[in-house]
């Protein structure tokens, strides 16, 4: 009897601690969302009780916001598309083709993700300016694809490796050619991994700031740059800023939920065995 109570008490205590910590940890996000529904004066001088208003959202959703939103969507989707088209065949080839030292190539890809953006920005900036590609969607997509491909190869190569070889063997005996084997047998098995990796590339691209601020001026500015314009506001536009922030972070958070599991699996598979 006593032990049952003890167990129950522990369950209650630890659950409470976990819920409190979780709440405190994400409090800044909750506070931002709440503030986005307040009038400006209620944000500057915090008030607990207020009548929610969507005024901030009505004002935020403007032509410049939509332009940045459109740019972010074009750049991010373009990056995800090109990254997937390049990385999936590459990962397949690393596992199933006869290439010299596939491990070496794999680690070369992984090592390029260590490279900070500032290490490449100057030649890229100078080149893009020369060929008048600065402030264009394609310039951003190119840079982000260069960063996304290694990331995706890192995350999905192990999914290809984990396909049981007898399944692949069996399809060969059944007379499938390589493309059929890939399309009919492998793809369904690795699809979840690819989708999650694509989500992660989406999130990282969507949130990226360094390249966005350095190689765009007016035409191709993304939401990250749009958001950064709020950094000098002194308390008059905090409600609108909160509304903008809330709109910007929604998509990555939703995608992030569904990518979590594969993210852990992909990131730990290279170095963690078992």
């Amino acid at each position: 009897m006593f032990t049952l109570n003890y167990e129950k008490r522990r369950y209650l205590i630890f659950s409470t601690i976990a819920i409190v910590i979780t709440f405190l940890w994400i409090f800044p996000i909750i506070y931002m969302v709440i503030s986005s529904f307040k009038e400006e004066v209620q944000v500057a001088i915090p008030r607990l009780f207020f009548k929610p208003t969507i005024e901030n959202y009505q004002e935020v959703i403007s032509a410049t916001f939509f332009k940045s939103l459109k740019n972010s969507i074009i750049v991010t989707l373009g990056t995800v598309l090109f990254t997937t088209l390049l990385a999936v065949p590459a990962s397949y080839a690393l596992v199933y083709s006869k290439v010299r030292s596939p491990n070496g190539i794999y680690f070369w890809f992984v090592s390029t993700t260590f490279l900070p953006a500032i290490a490449v920005i100057m030649p890229v900036f100078i080149l893009f300016q020369k060929i008048r590609m600065i402030d264009s969607h394609i310039a951003l997509i190119l840079l982000y694809t260069g960063a996304g491909v290694p990331m995706m190869i890192w995350l999905i190569t192990n999914f290809f490796k984990e396909i049981p070889s007898d399944i692949v063997e069996a399809t060969k005996i059944d007379g499938c050619n390589r493309w059929q084997t890939f399309y009919l047998v492998m793809l369904p098995l690795v699809r979840n991994g690819i989708v999650s990796a694509a989500f992660l590339v989406f999130i990282i691209t969507w949130n990226e700031f360094f390249f966005a601020i350095t190689i765009t001026y007016t035409e191709s500015t993304t939401l990250a740059v749009y958001m950064s314009k709020y950094m000098t506001q002194q308390g008059y536009f905090w409600g609108k800023m909160s509304a903008t922030g809330t709109l910007i972070v929604m998509i990555p958070i939703v995608l992030g939920f569904s990518a979590q599991k594969a993210l852990v699996r992909g990131l730990t598979s290279g170095s963690v065995k078992g």
Partner: protein, 289 residues
């Protein structure tokens, strides 16, 4: 694994586009950055022209006292964040690694900061939460009757560290929690039967088993924390003075404020060298048994 298909094999060519694109966008520009670091070149002063100066740019940055301030900042940020993220993530992992009411829900929710744009993070903390003259910081301190802490003045470096820890601990937690879940329940039970305390179980049994996960989290954390830029840009702008600037931010300023390409390139090369050095040191320190 690759031996399944034995016929003449051209599918290796599938690698080529990815290799070419990644090389063109990452490796070749980096090699060009190394070359640029040996030049004297200010974009906004075409009259001065471009000339070869050897290691002058390096000499210049190494003799600049601000550079050393920034190096120390970068290392302090890195060490403090790695230590805090790891310890907090392990504690969170232990807390969540049991049956909890709403456990799965909380676990998924607490990851959110990792997916949030760092510009949004920086601005929300800077304005809504920590601004000393309005907002929550002001409200709470005037409620308790003390003067609000100026987080972005004297404590700017600490504030940057807090923000990075807030954003990156969830990432550490994600990986470390996966490790803790892979520790078999019987191992923990038998430790309990032997009379090990919770702390003993953690330090002597769980942590050694999940060492590989901790290493992975710390390595990825190291690489990414060294890259932090947006947070600094939207909150402190490296200030006051250089007190909260890190290497990426200093390099950015050197390119896009001073337009001194050569010097900035030298800074970028130094940043890469430091990244490689630290990653390698970290690898060799953790893989030795």
């Amino acid at each position: 694994m690759g031996q399944v298909i034995q016929k003449k094999d051209h599918s290796g060519k599938l690698l080529l586009p990815a290799v070419v694109v990644v090389a063109l966008i990452t490796q070749i520009p980096f090699l060009m950055t190394i070359i640029l670091s040996l030049l004297k070149w200010n974009i906004k002063r075409p009259d001065q022209g471009i000339s070869f100066t050897g290691f002058n740019n390096y000499r210049e940055i190494f003799t600049d006292p601000n550079f050393w301030v920034v190096i120390i900042n970068t290392v302090v940020i890195l060490i403090a964040c790695l230590a805090l993220c790891t310890v907090i993530a392990v504690l969170l992992g232990v807390l969540f690694n049991r049956d909890l009411f709403l456990g799965y829900f909380c676990r998924s929710i607490i990851i959110i900061p990792y997916f949030v744009m760092d510009c949004v993070v920086g601005i929300v903390w800077k304005t809504l939460l920590l601004n000393p003259s309005l907002g929550l910081n002001y409200y709470i301190s005037s409620f308790f009757g003390f003067s609000p802490i100026d987080f972005f003045g004297a404590y700017s470096l600490v504030t940057i560290i807090i923000l990075i820890v807030w954003q990156w601990t969830p990432f550490f937690f994600l990986i470390i929690f996966a490790g803790l879940q892979s520790v078999p329940g019987e191992v923990l039970e038998s430790a309990q039967l032997e009379g090990a305390s919770g702390l003993q179980t953690l330090l002597q049994i769980q942590v050694p088993i999940i060492k590989a996960h901790i290493n992975t989290a710390m390595t990825l954390g190291l690489i990414n924390i060294l890259k932090v830029f947006g947070l600094v840009y939207v909150t402190t702008q490296g200030g006051p003075g250089y007190r909260s600037a890190n290497l990426p931010y200093l390099t950015y300023r050197t390119v896009f404020f001073n337009w001194s390409i050569g010097e900035a390139a030298a800074l970028a090369v130094v940043t890469v060298a430091i990244t490689l050095f630290l990653t390698q040191k970290f690898f060799s320190a953790t893989t030795r048994h």
